[in-house]
Symmetry: C2
């Protein structure tokens, strides 16, 4: 038998698992529904494979009601069927209203795999969806392929009315209680902090159990667990549930704090890499497009796993009908589009782009139906103009949204050309938008882009100005002005989320001011670590103290203490210190432009498509080794080719 894989309607695996995970949020014992529309797999799907073969057999299996047919003659599931030598069309139909319709064909002549085609009752056929891990009839694609590892608490401490368990660091999985007294009601309180675990019903996650001697509780995030009513004989373990990703990127330097930041960021990020890129592992456990945009950049320098980016993009893109912006947030729709091109640069992956392109057009059209009289994107019908948790003048058309819309137009022009369509209309929209952004938002007096042209307040925040530099919307003159008048100007409200801090530091990296990055790593990320963080928080305000740090959204412990958007240092170290970036898709060509910044020495690895680049540098010596061709080392205004698997060493 040849190797077979479960197949399904292209995109429905991702949509199914993202819908499933968006139904798992709980808060203080009650279910929290996703605030956005969820989609189901199509319930009735057809598959087809044309082949010329020797005589053989096939046995089909399905999730749902199904038949398989050879040249139109239908057979049931689970029964071996002879296939004669010659040319055949093998088709199958699978219908399933309670899950993901999927097919598995065991055969020496026509095993099911990604070369099959799928279609609905009408419309063009697509390549069948397929993932390498679902390769036996038993490994069905309705069960997401997580890995598991049993873990024990590092300490158990008797408290007034129960026992407090500490697992040593933020983790996620199933809590197991055994040797429990069946007559006792156990109150299980989870905490990312000790205070939360001991916070009673102020904790986000808790559950009362009774009547059994063994419990396996649902997956939750925590470092601490307080079991009220537990006696010392209670046996507590947890099954860590995680995506078995391989760390392909690495970074080490002489600054031990930075090394710890890197490690804590990697741990934070890994916990949030699951069916898609999660925001935070305790509270939402949802996939938010803006958070995911930044996660995709971090992923490029740590796991370099294209599959999770695809799953995130497909799952968030959904299907008809489109009822609202992605996650209901205007900026998150445009970031979803922008991310598609960055994905292409990192991994190539043209087929994915071709398949997601129609969805991108739909969201672009959705945005274009929400422009004001000047062509600026505004919020309608409950659209959320988020940008960041920060003060901002959101009157009318908000500048940061227009920066993103411009970049989305530019991306759509590039994507259109990639899929063989004309990008000229989007090019025109982009040029027009840049002109209008300058006309309406650039304030010469402030030397900055203002938030709103409609309020008359001429208020400046960092956000639009950061995007202007990030996406090269600012001219070189405007850029200088922005750096001076906005980013280095302490009178302009500081960023408080690691989310936007990531963008701000990206700008500092881009303009080569690594000192700004190091200062922020020390004060901001270092600040959290000095408070004992074992993972990076959703927000950090150094002016708060003690348990105040854990409050957000009006709840005492509502802040997420393990939030993916805090992991941007991984990206920053790889992108601006090791200095590796693709200059053509999938690292067919790439630049290596290392900078020590304020470090004395560093070494690390950046994944480059199927290979990697290893950089080692101190004050006197730089050594670079790439395992794939196409690399160019840029150092002190000179360039050096990087032949594969050779050390290029520069001493100075």
């Amino acid at each position: 038998m040849k190797h077979s894989y479960w197949i399904w309607y292209y995109g429905d695996y991702e949509i199914y698992h993202l819908s499933k995970l968006h139904m798992r949020r709980e808060q203080r014992g009650a279910f929290m529904p996703s605030m956005w529309h969820l989609y189901s797999p199509y319930p009735s799907v057809f598959f087809e494979k044309k082949l010329v073969c020797e005589a053989g057999t096939l046995t089909a299996y399905a999730m749902g009601e199904a038949h398989i047919a050879i040249d139109g003659k239908r057979y049931p599931m689970g029964t071996p069927v002879a296939v004669s030598a010659g040319e055949h069309t093998v088709t199958a139909a699978v219908s399933n209203l309670n899950g993901l319709p999927a097919l598995f064909v065991e055969s020496d002549v026509c095993p099911s795999d990604g070369t099959w085609r799928c279609r609905l009752a009408r419309g063009e056929s697509l390549p069948a969806g397929c993932e390498p891990c679902f390769d036996t009839p038993d490994k069905t694609p309705d069960v997401f392929p997580f890995a598991y590892e049993r873990k024990l608490p590092v300490s158990a401490e008797a408290r007034e009315a129960g026992v407090l368990y500490d697992f040593g660091a933020e983790t996620f999985g199933y809590l197991n209680l055994s040797a429990a007294n069946p007559d006792a009601t156990l109150g299980v309180y989870y905490g990312e902090s000790v205070e939360e675990a001991l916070g009673g019903e102020d904790a986000i996650l808790f559950e009362a159990v009774c009547g059994q001697s063994e419990y396996r509780l649902r997956q939750r995030a925590f470092r601490y667990v307080y079991v009220e009513g537990a006696d010392p004989t209670l046996n507590v373990t947890m099954d860590y549930e995680f995506l078995p990703l391989i760390r392909r990127g690495s970074f080490r330097c002489d600054n031990e704090l930075f090394n710890r930041i890197y490690d804590v960021c990697a741990h934070t990020f890994h916990l949030n890499c699951r069916e898609g890129f999660f925001d935070g592992i305790k509270r939402d456990r949802w996939v938010w497009s803006g958070d995911a945009y930044q996660s995709a950049r971090i992923n490029s320098y740590l796991f370099a796993d294209p599959a999770i980016v695809r799953r995130t993009a497909i799952g968030l893109g959904g299907k008809d009908p489109i009822l609202h912006h992605i996650n209901t947030i205007a900026d998150y729709t445009t970031l979803w589009i922008i991310g598609l091109y960055e994905h292409y640069m990192t991994y190539g992956d043209e087929e994915f782009l071709r398949l997601i392109y129609p969805t991108a057009v739909k969201y672009m059209d959705f945005c274009r139906a929400r422009l004001n009289e000047n062509g600026f994107l505004i919020g309608l019908d409950g659209d959320w103009i988020f940008v960041d948790w920060s003060e901002m003048d959101k009157t009318g058309a908000v500048c940061a949204e227009q920066m993103l819309l411009a970049q989305a137009y530019k991306t759509m022009a590039a994507l259109s050309r990639l899929v063989g369509k004309d990008g000229a209309e989007y090019d025109g929209l982009y040029r027009e938008m840049i002109g209008k952004i300058n006309a309406f938002y650039w304030n010469e007096e402030k030397g900055a882009f203002i938030d709103s042209y409609q309020s008359g307040k001429n208020h400046v925040t960092r956000h639009a100005n950061i995007f202007a530099v990030m996406y090269d919307i600012a001219t070189p003159v405007q850029r200088e002005s922005i750096l001076t008048n906005v980013l280095k100007n302490d009178a302009i409200t500081k960023i408080t989320t690691p989310y936007f801090e990531g963008y701000e530091l990206d700008v500092w990296g881009k303009v080569g001011e690594l000192g700004e990055i190091e200062a922020m790593l020390d004060s901001y990320w270092g600040g959290m670590l000095r408070l004992g963080a074992t993972s990076i928080w959703e927000e950090y305000d150094p002016t708060l103290s003690g348990v105040e740090h854990y409050a957000m959204y009006g709840g005492k412990f509502e802040k997420s203490l393990c939030h993916a958007w805090g992991a941007s240092p991984i990206y920053l170290f790889g992108r601006y210190y090791l200095g590796v970036a693709p200059t053509s898709p999938a690292y067919a060509t790439f630049d290596v432009e290392p900078h020590l910044g304020g470090l004395r020495e560093m070494e690390g690895t950046v994944p480059t498509g199927n290979g990697e680049v290893r950089v080692k540098m101190d004050a006197h010596r730089l050594s670079v080794r790439a395992t794939t061709p196409g690399g160019t080392l840029r150092f002190r205004n000179r360039t050096y080719p990087l032949p594969p698997n050779e050390d290029v060493v520069i001493e100075y």
Copy 2:
């Protein structure tokens, strides 16, 4: 506690159950998928109820993950929650990817019922879906509320290698085998005819079982069951599964054949009235819009159940995205629209019309995107131009389709006005279409509408001409010409399906030529009964003989012998003999215009909204009694008011 009902997103109950039933077709042991696109319920739904109340409690239950919230404070399912006296907004969220998200709230102050509202993440709120039978937490709406009755075979006859069981007439349900030898493999072959049951793998439905002493096999239709390998001790029963509808209409006359036809039609029709109107109970067991259009007319004179018409219309209408015509058939889309107004005339039901109207507009737009340069509906992208199983010149734009499109425009004009919108555009389209139909299709020489203006063949079939009279598209002069040159012209190919025979006889009824109806009842329906039919067939060709009658679609027994579209005599007797029809919605006013035709005497009942009309007539005396006001008796060019609950007697 007040009376509570399960509630769901409006329309999703119907869509869920129609998708489910469209996944149940099997053919010779293999699953047969629906050839049209199926839809799922929306996986994430929100509910709301505003109320002012005394202090009370509520306990909520859900199908799916859910919370209920009072003024924004969330509570889990299954837990009693106090509701204080005063004004409250109660909301709930239910998410379910594996079924129908639904909510049940037990409460003395805010029980869940049809006064609640439902909505998605965006978009307007609708009244929550609700059916009276789902009124306890245990009676969940994922289980369709069928009734069951145990039945025994009327005979068991040993054959060569097994036993043949006869249940006396066509039936549907679960076959039970008990006291079976667990070592024996039993081959269970179902037949609507003896020949089919004994036809081995030519039968449509069969199954082999082994290893148990008791079996309960899946629901199937049959009259006969042949159990190969059965010994005489095998105990065989069946559980008849049916919708508990009440026969409100009746008809009896001096012609015993007609009485038997009425009874067999009623039996045939009842078997096919389930989640929606089925085509036939053995083979497809699907809901086809054209078949359902005629079923709705039959239903008006037998069960007068508006709920099954609504379920059929909502389930077939589906939701976004619309990929093709309803059932993929162009004529079935227009008949779906046309049926909405006929439903309104029979039952009133304005709220349903308001809720289905947006879907009707979508299908109308779908049709209008498939017009040729002359504005005629044509087949594109695999659209099926069905009309009937009959020879017809289907070159280019087919006349019968334009007749239906015209009537659909007229219907949309009326529906638009009903829901408070302007119908003028549809009025214009209707007038224009009538003009064009006459210009392109009326052939003066033939005195008839031709099938195609593009082929140059000027071929005439009955179909378009029947619709022209049915829908008053033909002028009085054209009508006379059609009756003479087409319908009474033996050179024009005869109708062979009861489907179109129903339309043809509707025309004869409409023009008062009841002799034509009686002749056809005798030869066509009577022909089947004389061949031993216990239910009406999908098609009947008197020129065939013996087992030839059971063949269709290239299969020996593929013809359905219990097909709903054969039950039109029920409609014809009620509509043209008893002569009862609404003249305003829901029988607020109605006409009773009885005709004996060639009968000597008749009596019967027609449901009229909440009441009924009873008619008894012979050659000398007519007696009519209506239980509701608004009736007018029309007899021999005179009119008589029908006061409720009074016998109006005319002797002559």
